[in-house]
Amino acid sequence: MASERESEEISVPLPSSEDASLQATWGLGNQLFVYAADRRPAKDTNGEGSDMGHTQSYDILDLRWGQDMHGPTTRKLINESHSVFVMLQGQVTSLSGSALYNQLKEASRQYRSIAKACSLELQLLMSNTVDEGEREYYGNQVELLETMQIIWSLCEILFIDIAPGEMVLVQLLNWVRWHFSAGREMAQDVINDEIPEEHPAYWEAIFRLLLQGEIERVRKLLSLHSCSQTQPFTSVEELLKKMPQWGNLRTVSLAEFDLKWRHWREECMRRYEEGHFTAFAELERVVQVLCGDMLVFSELKDYCETWYHLLISRLLYQNPTVRPTDLAFHVQACMEEFQRAGHRMGHVDNILQAALEFDLHQVIKDSSTSLGDRSWWFGAHLTDILHHCGQIDSQKLPFGSNLREYLLLEYVAGLMSHHSLWQVGVDYLDHCPVFGKEHMKLYIENLPLDSERKANKLIHICEERDLLEQVQSICKIMGVRCSQDGRLGSALSWFLRSKDVPAATRLTEKFLQDYKENGNFSHLDLLDHMGPTMLLTQQLTFLGKYREFHRMYQEKDLKGAASLLLSMLTARAAPRHFWVTLLMDALPLLETPQVILGTSQTYELMHCLEELTQDLTRNTPTSTTPSRASSTPTPQSAGTGVTAAGSSQILSQRDLEKLKLLRLALCRNLSRSIVHEGTIVPL
């Protein structure tokens, strides 16, 4: 392998001929559109079309990657780690000191167990499938997850859950035991055998367990041997029993333990040299292991499977009190042991080596390059914990928090390509202090608004984060879309939400126009429940009031309806082109048996009618402007254009007839009201 990672090469099923080369456009997330295009620059092609003999049709390739994250099992991984992540971020701000430290350790364990659960589930899927391709796929996934766990646990031991007293080997032994279970399984087989010592794997099981420091189990197996009561066996049994165990001696100091251990080893050596065990070659090897004999470890290395297992096994019997920082000195020898046997060192080996050498940066970098699509999951979460542990803060690495955020953003980029996982991504962005918000804005702008529900969800997310501009934009897009589809009611409610004055005004006009044409309102529920939002524009206020007038009229509150109608006219809230309609609406009120409109109100109405007809008779552009200025004391910023356009309409003959009728009705009503009110007492 070259020292520098080559960029990968991918071949796609597209032509690669002389006159066509590939071009690409980004889609959303991890998606590219690749297509064959002209090799020559655009300028040189003959613009007059297809006289160049291109008869074939050109395909576009919709290319996506990073989809591994989207399987159902992996989604569980993502969702569960998400909740751990969010909780941890909360604890980081609220806790400190050892309380926080305990939480960090806990979170690290939780991440690992989530990965483990995911891997077990994949294993189950693998055993249930018959499809060869699927099986291979699951197999690869399981391997990747297991690899991640190996690396993660080692990092946890070295950087997160640091053992007090620098006795790191106990944890490392657990690490090895956890990930290499073949010895224990073998031992179980052996024990279940009728004659254990004749089981072909009897000694192998013993050695495997011994190399993992599983002394109790080794003793159990040895006791099953038919010669277990002979002197060599009892001697080994005694040695094993006496072997100092750190776990049992928690009260002693490291130095004391070291002393005890040296005594024990000297005894092992002594017994070995005295030749107690020569009768049993295998037993002799057991004692050689106990003595930490270099050669015997080389012979047994295949039982260790990997160099890092060998490393831990050797340290257990040669230098159990090794300090974490000294681990690196022993790495090379163990690796060479395996290289001599023809093993090639892969990515995982490099990563683990880097970890043992305390080169965190290298660990994160290498795991991000070599662990497939889930590498961002791994890198982002591990780095986050390490960051909070202070392992990669800016003092230790010049780009500490940078690195964390970089990895988190990469992880989010993968999530955002997914149709539902984007919600998880949003929470991660919240914890990216530098670029999180800006990235969020861009993502939100590009997330497809497939349904009202999704739009509302996004709006909620934006509102929580104070992204008001984005809220407005979403409402506007939804509004435009609704009005395109002819759903004017929903469109109006979206525009009201975004407080979009021009769009709302335009829609209101449409509503009024509809009413003028059809004589009834659509979207009553919306109009009836506008509340204070109707104050957004003058047109809308009028529309709301006008609808209220209709309701009062229907509810037979004629007095109220009449005064509302009058106030709409006198306050000049109504657009001028609507006045005819309004005045005609007054007609039934004038014709009722009892008098509803009083004299002064009738006068007002007459005034309005007169104003309108005068306006219409002097219907030249020069005259409308002053008349309108005089008749509209309130500034009509939003409605100016509309009013001008409306008043320039020439009334139809039918409208004129109607107005005449109205004039008559007004006069009749006036006389009735005079009598009714008795304002003019007959002499």
């Binding site: 990968e8 690669s16 066509a20 456009t25 997330g29 395909d59 290319l63 070599s370």
Partner: protein, 378 residues
């Protein structure tokens, strides 16, 4: 893992541009066959052609989407010296030509909508070197566009790009495909001055002396600098950092501290196209060597190629034939009638996803840390 789906676009000639709408549910393609096709993605992820119509009387160079706030609006530009704005008719799959912008006297080489915060504006570049900026008088009625600004770059324009930053004054970068290398810098930057109400030339990138075929600003994600990708003989990535504003000493507007973040001589001779992803972290470039390359910066800001896409040489005709064969007979019939500017959702000859035999995509650019030099690899 890469998954590829082929879309039989059925253009009668070379495709010049593929443009993706903001939400990723629609795609527009344009071609030398003078047509534009609009595609929509169904719930199952397949692409259906919803409209196909003749737009111009010459090759259509570019097609671009306006922000969805303005509805479904497309702009195209063509060899026939015009640019056009199209809007989808409400409730229909018809696209109506709202306006034809006929000011140019030469081929219109590029058309781009301004970032949304500037309203509905449109910039066109033409082969005679003039950039025009139009604005919709009323966003509700797209038939009325007024020519707001016009400036001459004094060399043939091939491409232009708007800077998307909201916090900086409007900025346009243009590229020229003038083949004369001694003709001066081929990339110029123009900034709008609110005070003078005009566009001023603020920078010229003298490093780029060869013809420029494409140019694109990366989306600004709150960086203090702008990233500009230039496709010329080499691929350039520039970072442009505005100097602190000081109107007194600098009446011409901001100047930039320009740094060349990357220059790659990778595509043998010419780079044709560049395209950024939505968050401006990955760039794709395509060039004369027939490859598509992806570029990514690590957290130290070093740009590296992370992957390379190559055609596997599947001949175009044979490939198309495969796609045709997979079509059920019914769709073939629909396909035949599609040439006549109809809007049937035909041409769904999309084959099942083909998992390709690829290496894992790492997406992690290599970096130069001293450590690497003595680390052993096997």
């Amino acid at each position: 893992m890469f998954v590829a789906k082929s879309i039989a676009v059925d253009h009668k000639d070379l495709i010049h541009d593929v443009s993706y709408d903001f939400h990723g549910r629609r795609m527009a393609t344009c071609s030398s066959d003078q047509t534009v096709k609009v595609w929509e993605q169904g719930d199952d992820g397949t692409w259906h052609c919803t409209a196909s119509w003749k737009t111009h009387s010459g090759s259509v160079w570019r097609v671009t989407w306006a922000h969805p706030e303005f509805g479904q609006v497309l702009a195209t530009c063509s060899f026939d010296r015009t640019a056009a704005v199209w809007e989808k008719e409400a409730g229909q799959n018809h696209w109506l030509k709202r306006t034809s912008l006929v000011d140019s006297r030469t081929s219109v080489t590029d058309v781009k909508f301004a970032p949304k915060h500037m309203g509905l504006q449109l910039a066109t570049s033409s082969a005679d070197g003039i950039i025009r900026i139009y604005e919709a008088v009323d966003v509700m009625n797209l038939s009325n566009w007024s020519l707001q600004h016009e400036f001459n770059c004094h060399m043939g324009c091939s491409c232009l790009t708007w800077n998307t930053s909201r916090v900086h004054p409007p900025l346009i970068a243009m590229g020229s495909d003038d083949p004369n290398p001694s003709g001066g810098p081929k990339v110029k930057l123009y900034e709008y001055s609110e005070v003078q109400r005009k566009w001023n030339k603020v920078e010229a990138l003298s490093v780029v002396s060869d013809a420029v075929h494409d140019i694109q600003f990366a989306p600004n994600v709150g960086r203090s600098y702008h990233l500009l990708a230039v496709a010329s003989k080499e691929l350039y990535i520039f970072s442009l950092k505005p100097y602190r504003k000081d109107p007194a000493s600098n009446p011409q507007g901001n100047k930039f501290e320009i740094r060349q973040a990357g220059m790659f001589d990778c595509h043998d001779s010419q780079v044709w196209r560049v395209s950024w992803n939505v968050i401006g972290t990955i760039l794709v470039s395509s060039g004369a060597d027939g490859c598509v390359r992806m570029w990514k910066a690590n957290y130290l800001g070093n740009w590296k190629c992370i992957s390379e896409l190559k055609g596997d040489g599947t001949p175009g005709e044979g490939h198309a034939a495969v796609a045709q064969n997979n079509q059920p007979p019914g769709t073939l019939a629909a396909n035949g009638s599609m040439g006549a500017n109809n809007n049937s959702s035909s041409s769904n000859a999309i084959r099942p996803p083909v998992p390709m035999n690829l290496k894992r995509n790492t997406g992690w650019p290599w970096m130069d840390i001293k450590k690497d030099s003595f680390k052993l690899f096997y």
